[in-house]
Subunit: 360 residues, 3 copies
């Protein structure tokens, strides 16, 4: 990550906060890990494991917390920006360097894009090749629609939304400001709802599934990020709702009429069935499955690959996954689990036998 | 869900069946839940839980089963349409209202679409922006191809098929009448087949994987619905087959040469490995995994997150998933599971000890 | 699978190796299973189960290993090509027949494609409808980009790469020679990285997630194949790396900064969290989940639906999944698992009781 532009520590602090210990006029041009940074680069300490590297780094400056600065042995010749959260500070500076290095996209509509005359696209928006925007859609200021994006009828996109290539947003959905959606994600497909209309049982069963029209939409609040090829279904009658600053990884499925509370993060391959409500500040691990029509309290953590079948009303960490072990050992354990009732019966028999003797 | 058009209960019954109890001339314009409907709206009772709401609803009419009508306390001033399956009736009426409210798409090919001269597209079809239809494809009457859809060589699409944006159908696949495929789904990608061509073991292993050409296709029957970003692979030699009225949710993977029996439903994130045959009227839960080369009987239900590794020859419900519990409690149970053989050995030792005493 | 062209066994052996037993001038035109092949078709024996079919097949020739040829009872009137690996031989011949039967794509750029003037596309490449290639991208000899593919800034595609419809490759990623990527896959989306910048606990928590810029890319070596709708994230600082001849199925998620060793195969719906390194020649089963920041040795096999939470430093097979059983039986076992500590305590009590008696 390199840009031609350099910036002084003083300018960084003016923009992002923090206090300088050392030479405020020192210039940096990019970021690097402690052990690889040179004098033109900014490093950060966010993990105690790397504390010894602060003494030996050649970085032009180190982002550090006040507590960690106290532990540094060698300050001589080193510059620091002291901030309570060096990792978040690093993230913000890194983004600023990227913005400097990235050629600004020219506002306007690519000639190959297909914009319905009944859509409203801000002049500052950047509309890529082969994009489709249907009637009634509203595309906000500085929105970026990459190649192949499809925006359905009446969709509303807030300012600074960025949709990566081949994203599809179905009709009537709403995305708040600064929402990022990665390539291939699908927002607002029909929820999975069919009314059984069958008569008879077993082989005599006749009839069919009748599709339940899905007339809700998806309502996504500000600052949400959604991963590649993730799918979020539209609601059946009311909307599916994703609250502010929710972060969703790749290949996640969110069913119709779910509500995901603000600041919650959902890791890749998780699946959340319909009408489930997840609280604020939750952390849903990778490949977690959550049943439909349940509620998770705020601050619930579900570890990877676990399955949630009932509501979790208390904050805390929940688990139901086993870690893989040697295959033969596992098969022995699995066979014993299948026959746990027999082990229990043997214990019962032993207890009864002892009791019988006691009576003798 | 609102349209400008109203319809009398008499007209509804003429079109969808059922018997009227109350005012056949009453007009409704849309649908709503029992507790929210007003006199211009139609509600339905499909769940005993909501029976008390029938007495207090302000709905213009209620869809109700004959048995439930008997339980209603207050019929005065209420209108009913009596039907054996109010939920399915509701679904059909809801779809009719949507059709009334949705502007009819104009048949024709969007100027940005790319149709090979060797493809055959019905004049009544609606071909969206940036669609690609390759040589030899046949697109049936009233088919709707949304923006960005790609139809490969020789694909056949039956009448009234609707493919949502950015769906890809590989060459040679066949979709029956009224098939719906949601955005981003991929029909007919190569099955996952590679012949090992290696020599030597461990670090001395040399050679490569040789791709097995996948020359079957995917054959999808009438009235199938396929969810967003779902993938159904083409067969290796014969076809992968999806029978009529199968309903598949989002992000489902179906391997090469599978056969999915009619009326079976498969929930989101499920994965079915190659050459597996699933019976008719099965229900496969979310995130279920099914091994390759197995067979499931008709009327099998597999609950969410379970794994099927062998054929299931009897109808019934099958499970292998644990529900998440408090993390610390789980870890204790998991450690005991790993050491179940030791518990069993302790039981054996106790049994032996008691037996020894008996002999004394 | 039929082409108009026929080929003699002698020509096959000249091209693909092996020894002929029988009539070297016999001509075949396609491939078929042993029990269906006629005299113009080539069959193969790769599974002992089908050995008896060799005696009765009407195939024009059979691909067979030297060891299996010894077991054949009836050689009279049969032709054989003897090769150590009939299955791989079959795969290579099948591909050759397909190549003969498939009309050669005409090199060139479809008029609807959008190629940035700053991109470099080989004259032998075949660029489909509605493809987008951004500035600085380099598209190698004979590359095939199907309809709707999007190639970001500065991407490099090696010779003979084939990207199926609607694939997205983000800026800066690199694909080696002969890489195949199936429809809808996304290469190089941002890794899932956010720095927590919150203050306070519980309901008093305020702050936000700060996005960590993902400035690495994805580096994919030669002969890799990637399935439909699979997602491989770009690295945070360094690259995500997929080594040569890795084969990845559909709907797989690979997190940022992973490294997947050469010749490893990953089945559908698997998810691998960030910064995890998988060795060479590993086999990762369907729907397997692997935690972040762990390392798997070469030649590790993880069976379907298992979860890996720690490094696996020895080759071998690892498992943590239960097979589905009758639902009621499972629920009994699951309840006992949740209460295993009570069973253990009862065993302890029994042991103590016996010991007490011994002391008496």
């Amino acid at each position: 990550m390199t840009s031609g532009t350099t910036i002084t520590l003083a300018e960084l602090v003016k923009r992002f906060g923090g206090d300088i210990v050392g030479d405020a006029a020192h210039r940096v041009a990019s970021l690097a890990p402690l052990d690889k940074a040179d004098s033109g680069q900014l490093a950060f300490l966010a993990n105690q494991k790397y504390l010894p590297q602060v003494d030996t780094t050649r970085a032009g400056a180190v982002l550090i917390s006040p507590a960690d600065l106290e532990k540094v042995a060698v300050r001589e010749g080193h510059n620091f920006i002291v901030t309570p959260n060096p990792y978040a500070y690093f993230a913000r500076v890194a983004q600023a360097f990227i913005d400097l290095a990235t050629p600004a996209a020219t506002p306007g509509v690519h000639p190959s894009a297909s914009i319905d005359p009944g859509a409203k696209v801000a002049a500052s928006a950047v509309i890529g090749a082969h994009v489709t925007v249907e009637a009634g859609a509203v595309v906000g200021e500085r929105v970026k629609l990459d190649a192949g994006v499809v925006i359905g009828r009446g969709v509303r996109l807030g300012e600074d939304v960025h949709l990566y290539p081949n994203v599809t947003v179905y009709h009537g959905c709403k995305l708040g400001a600064r929402v990022i959606v990665h390539a291939g994600a699908v927002i607002g497909a029909d929820g999975f709802g069919f009314a059984p209309d069958f008569v008879g049982e077993g082989e005599a069963r006749t009839g069919s599934w009748v599709k339940i029209p899905q007339v809700g939409a998806v309502d996504i609040a500000d600052d949400v990020e959604i991963g590649a090829n993730t799918t979020i279904d539209r609601g059946a009658m009311a909307d599916t709702v994703i609250e502010e600053c929710v972060k969703i990884d790749n290949l996640v499925q969110i069913g119709h009429n779910c509500r995901i509370g603000a600041y919650t993060v959902i890791a890749g391959c998780a699946g959340i069935a319909g009408s489930t409500h997840i609280g604020r500040h939750c952390m849903i691990g990778g490949a977690v499955g959550i049943a439909g029509h349940v509620t998770l309290a705020d601050h619930v953590i579900v570890t990877a690959q676990s399955g949630v079948s009932k509501s979790l009303v208390k904050p805390g960490m929940y688990t139901s996954a086993f870690p893989a072990v040697n295959h033969a050992d596992w098969n022995k354990s699995a066979a014993l689990v299948r026959n746990l009732d027999k082990l229990r019966d043997r214990i019962k028999a032993l207890e009864a036998a002892l009791e019988t003797r006691d009576k003798k």
